[in-house]
Symmetry: C2
Subunit: 378 residues, 2 copies
C-alpha cells in the first residue's frame, strides 16, 4: 500500500513514555506499598470484593525485574467510546510482551467485552500492530459496550481464558468498563483461575492522572479537539462581531473539559460545575452572571462573544438537585399514571404546582416550558 | 506580547504566489485581450451595465510594468462569511502597494460594506499587517453583509472615496459581494469618479479557479476542515461498527464541497447534485440507491458506514423543482390565506392533493409529514 508522508511520519513517531517505563521492560521492578482502602463505603466494598479488596499498592520503579519467567498469553479488549491512544496501549502491551519473551502472545478480542464471550479474537503479530501505531480510533479490534456482570458470562469468559491459556485480561475503557474489570477480577480470584484482570482507564474527564501520566487519553484528545473548534468560533465571533456563541462541551459529573478548554481558548464566559456547587449558586444567579457579562460587553460596543457550558452544569446546582428529587417523589409509583392521564399541559402544570414545595416550584417556574415538559417526560 | 512557537512559525510562513506574481510587482505587465461577454442574457446585462459591460479581458504576465506612476490610495473591505485567506489578500495588497511606492496607502473599512458608508476605517501600517499574516478569520477589520445597491448609498461611498482620495476599492467576498462590486463599479464609471472597483472572489463552492489559482479560498478551508471531521467520524464508525453517519456538507447550488470531501475521505456513499440532475433521478431513486448501499454492506455483516450529503441535493431533483413550482402556484395571491385558514393538517393535505398534479402529489406524498408541513410554511 502507498502511504502518504503524513502516515509515514505518524508511524515513525515514538510516543513519550512515563519515566518508569523508559528503561525497558527488563529494568522495571515492583515496589509493594501499604494495603489500599476505598475512598468511602469500605465495609460494603470489602464485602462485595472479599478476594480483591485491600491489596497492597503496587508501583513500578527502576530495578531488576525479578518476576518468575513464565509464558504470558494476554487478552485485550477495547470498551466504550473511541479515543486516540487506545491503539497505542495495545501496541505498548505487545511491545512489552515481545520484549520480555518472543513466545509471549497478545490476543485482541473483537467488538468490546462481547468478543471475550463470543471468543471472537485475533492474534497480533508485528505487521498487524505496526499498521496501527500512533493512529486514532478503536478500529484495530473494534469496541463495544456489553456489560460483563452475570455469573453465566463470567463462566463463559473463564472457559475462553482456559482454552487460550490466558494469564491476564486487559480491559481498556471508562468507568463502566473498569467496574466490569473489578467484578471480573474478583470472580477470577475467587475461583483461583490464575487469570489477572487489569483495567486501563480511558476517560473524558481529567480526573485520572499521576506523577507519570499528566492526563488520561480521551481527555487529552477531547480538550484539544474542542479547543481547535472553539478557537475557530472565536475567530468567527470576532469577524462577524454580532453573535454570541454558546458552546456545550462534554463533562457530566466534572467540568474538567470545560476548564481545560477555557484555559486553552480564553473565552468570554466559562461555567464550572464545581464552582457552582461550592458557591451554592442558583439557576438565576448563573443566568444573571451570564447576562451581566453579555451586558458589560454590550456597554463597550461588543455585541458578540463565546461562552463554554459543560453539559452537566445543571446537576451541580443544589436547588436543581432538590427539584429533581421532588419530581421523582411526585411521580413515584402510581402517581405517574395519574399525571399522564391529565388532559393537557395546563392541568399538568397545576398538578406540579400543587405537588412541589414553594422553593422547588420557584426553580421549576423560571425554566422555559419546553424544558419543564422534558423534566416530566423521563 | 509573548507568541507561541506555532504563532511564530505561522508568521514566518511565506504563502505560495501564483506564477504571474512571483517576480515582484515591478515585473508585471498587463496583457489586453478580446472584449468580454457575459455567459447569458448579454443584452439585458449590457443595458444594466452600459459603462462596464464588454471591456477587454485583462491578464497579467511577466514584463515591464509601464503603468503611469501615481499615488494609490486603496480602500478594502471584507464581506460575508469569514475564510482563512482573507487576511492574506489584504496583506498581499498592502505589500504590493508599498513595494510600488512607500507613499501608497491602504485603508481598511470596518465591519463589511457598511464601513464604506459610515467612513469607519483604519490605515494599515507594517506592525498592524504583520500581526495578521497567515492567520484565519476576518477579524483584521471585521466583516458584514450590508448590501450596496441604492443610489443614496453610492453617493455616500463616492463622498467617502473623494474625502480619502481613493483610487480603488477592493471588495473581498462571495456572489452577493461581487454583485455589489459590479454595481458600484458601474456607478463609479458612469459618474467619472476615477475610482476603480475590484472584486476579489471568496466562495464555498469550488467553481472559481484558473491556471494560476487552483482553488478559491473558502472552498479550500471548508473541504479540509470537513474532511478532518469526516475522517474522524469514519474512524468512529469503524470502531463502534454499529452506526451509519449521514454528514450534511455545505453546497446549495453546487456539490463541489461534497465531491472534494469524498475524494479526500472515501466514504461509503456520496450524493452529487450535478449527477442527480444529469441522470434526472427521482427522490425515490436516490433513497433506493442509499438503501441498496446500506443493505449491501449489511449483507456483508457491516452495519455501519458514512454518507456525505450536500445540503442542496434536493434542488437538483427535477421532479422536486416541478413540485416546488406547483406549490408556489397553488399558494399564489389570495390562495395562501385560504390555505392558512384551513382548520388542521388533514384539511390542508386534501387541499394540496386536489391542487397538485398527480405526478407532483406522488412526489409530495413520499415525504415525511414534517417535511411536507415545512414546504407549506415558507
Amino acid at each position: 500500500m502507498n502511504i502518504s508522508p503524513l502516515q509515514k511520519a505518524r508511524y515513525e513517531y515514538s510516543p513519550k513514555l512515563p519515566g518508569m517505563l523508559r528503561n525497558g521492560i527488563s529494568d522495571i521492578c515492583v515496589k509493594v506499598g501499604d494495603a489500599t482502602t476505598s475512598v468511602a463505603d469500605q465495609d460494603k466494598i470489602k464485602a462485595l470484593f472479599p478476594n480483591t479488596y485491600g491489596k497492597e499498592e503496587i508501583t513500578f520503579q527502576k530495578g531488576s525485574n525479578t518476576s518468575a519467567a513464565k509464558k504470558q498469553v494476554v487478552g485485550v479488549i477495547l470498551s466504550g467510546g473511541q479515543a486516540p491512544g487506545g491503539h497505542n496501549v495495545i501496541c505498548g502491551l505487545y511491545d512489552a510482551l515481545k520484549a520480555t519473551d518472543k513466545s509471549n502472545v497478545l490476543l485482541g478480542f473483537k467488538g468490546g467485552p462481547s468478543g471475550l464471550i463470543d471468543d471472537d479474537f485475533v492474534e497480533f503479530d508485528d505487521a498487524f500492530i505496526d499498521a496501527y501505531r500512533n493512529t486514532g480510533g478503536f478500529d484495530i479490534i473494534g469496541s463495544g459496550r456489553t456489560k460483563l456482570e452475570t455469573e453465566e458470562q463470567f463462566k463463559v469468559v473463564t472457559e475462553v481464558a482456559k482454552k487460550h491459556g490466558l494469564t491476564a485480561i486487559v480491559i481498556i475503557g471508562g468507568d463502566d468498563s473498569n467496574t466490569n474489570a473489578a467484578v471480573l477480577a474478583e470472580y477470577m480470584a475467587a475461583n483461583n483461575t490464575g487469570v489477572q484482570v487489569i483495567g486501563c482507564p480511558k476517560t473524558i474527564d481529567g480526573d485520572l492522572k499521576n506523577e507519570d501520566i499528566e492526563a488520561s487519553f480521551g481527555f487529552d484528545t477531547a480538550t484539544k479537539t474542542y479547543s481547535e473548534v472553539i478557537g475557530n468560533i472565536e475567530r468567527d465571533a470576532n469577524s462577524a462581531k454580532k453573535y454570541w456563541h454558546f458552546v456545550k462541551v462534554m463533562g457530566r459529573s466534572a467540568s474538567h473539559v470545560a476548564l481545560e478548554c477555557a484555559l486553552e481558548t480564553q473565552p468570554n464566559i466559562c461555567l464550572i460545575g464545581e464552582e457552582v456547587k461550592a458557591k451554592k449558586m442558583s439557576l438565576s444567579q448563573i443566568a444573571d452572571q451570564v447576562a451581566d457579562s453579555v451586558a458589560k460587553r454590550a456597554a463597550n460596543g461588543d455585541n458578540f462573544g463565546v461562552a463554554i457550558i459543560p453539559e452537566g452544569i445543571v446537576e451541580f446546582v443544589p436547588e436543581f438537585s432538590v427539584l429533581i428529587a421532588e419530581i421523582n417523589e411526585l411521580l413515584a409509583g402510581k402517581k405517574t399514571e395519574e399525571f399522564n392521564a391529565l388532559p393537557n399541559w395546563d392541568a399538568k402544570y397545576n398538578f406540579i404546582k400543587a405537588g412541589l414545595t414553594a422553593e422547588s416550584f420557584a426553580v421549576f417556574d423560571i425554566l422555559p416550558t419546553l424544558i419543564q415538559q422534558q423534566l416530566f417526560l423521563e
